[in-house]
Symmetry: C2
Subunit: 221 residues, 2 copies
DNA sequence: AATATTTGTTAGATTACCCTAACTTTATTA
DNA sequence: TAATAAAGTTAGGGTAATCTAACAAATATT
């Protein structure tokens, strides 16, 4: 099915929201509108169109749910997005915080061959530069058990697995700390007072990070 | 200046037409509309908009001419188009006739950094897979003296420099003949009767090609 | 439970790009 | 040069995506 640039963005947004809302994969109109930076009225209009095309299922005043087709389309876009991010980061030396904006545009290029060739060119990466899993051509996604850094205890060691907060400010801060996907961390001490942590980043001198920081980083034990 | 997808296509079309019309760099409304696959009325509308933005100069019922800014913008798009074609051809194993369609989409991605990094990644190519010159970041374009194969005489030798007719059918025919940019040709005999030529392609057995063929291929002596 | 708040929808307008049909201007040719 | 043909423009309309303002439904609060 031929989707417009905008329709694709709505599907991707719904998919992303379904990831965020853990247990329940539905979203609300306002939530969706806010995510996309449009007014709720606009989202309602588009929802009707997507429903017409059988990409979402919802009743007036009810929750929005992706249909199977809608979900598949969304995953296809996410796949493109993450492959392009990987390309920009690995081949064109883009920094962590620059890849997203450009990938937002590249993800809409229509060419099945392009996506598959790109994946091959990148040697079938499993994760993008932010540590998020890249869906395969068949829609499958590698799953890893991610823990928030803030859930660890004194003495725990871990490896950075993914970034929860992908804001530019956070990404730039990580860069300054030389933290990247795969970096080894060990928790020296959790400070009960404010939830901050003393951690060691690879072999560097220990340093303190805030609770907010620890809640923005996924790690793997 | 921020240009829409469509505005960019109009500028590129005007630039391409100015190349085609050799001596005079203007175009007509119908010519332009035909090139872009829209109706003349639509082209007139867009022309008003482009004039408003100072990208073209023209008077009602007069010829259309790109302004300096319009020309520069057009060249920037052409640069992206040809760099992407080169990427697809060299890095992703796309065939000659497949690159154009995808590059038509990729050329509209907005990111100065992307273009320049891509150029670097490709090692500053001077020509695209069709042999057309790739504009530099400053707008300069390498120039080569191209001759049509049909202008050669008995015994002349040459190297394929560029493709004039970039239709899929022609590109596929070239592929079948193992002709690519840089292939050496020698003209064994020009047949006066119908303008066809007996040529030798590299070390292969001589074969005949039509006048139409010879008029679709640029060579370098 | 009645009221207030939040959430979602409808109606009507706007902008960009495209169309057809009718018209005007410019170019060609008999 | 007058008639015809070609090229270009205008007027009026359609669709996609957006908005604001007003309204309706669902949820939360006292």
């Amino acid at each position: 099915m031929m989707l417009s640039y905008t329709e694709e963005n709505y599907l991707k947004a719904l998919l992303k929201l379904s990831f965020q809302n853990e247990d329940k994969p539905e979203a609300g109109t306002n939530e969706m509108a806010a995510y996309l930076g449009v007014k709720p009225a606009t989202a309602t209009d588009m929802l009707k169109k997507l429903k017409e095309k059988n990409l979402v299922s919802y009743q007036k005043y009810g929750k929005i749910l992706l249909t199977d087709i809608g979900r598949k389309s969304g995953i296809a876009i996410l796949r493109k997005h993450r492959l392009w991010e990987t390309f920009l980061y690995e081949k064109l030396d883009f920094s962590w915080d620059e890849v997203h904006e450009v990938a937002e545009q590249l993800e809409h290029i229509q060419s099945a061959k392009l996506v598959d060739k790109l994946e091959e060119f990148l040697d079938f990466p499993e994760f993008d530069p932010h540590g998020d899993p890249i869906p395969k051509a068949n829609g499958e996604m590698p799953v890893i058990t991610k823990t928030l850094l803030s859930e660890l205890k004194n003495g725990d060691v871990c490896k950075v697995a993914a970034i929860k907060d992908t804001s530019t400010l956070f990404l730039q801060y990580l860069e300054k700390l030389h933290i990247t996907i795969g970096t080894n961390l060990s928790v020296i001490e959790v400070i009960a007072f404010d939830g901050s942590l003393n951690i060691q980043i690879e072999d560097a001198d220990p340093r303190s990070v805030s609770m907010k920081f620890a809640e923005s980083l996924f790690v793997q034990r």
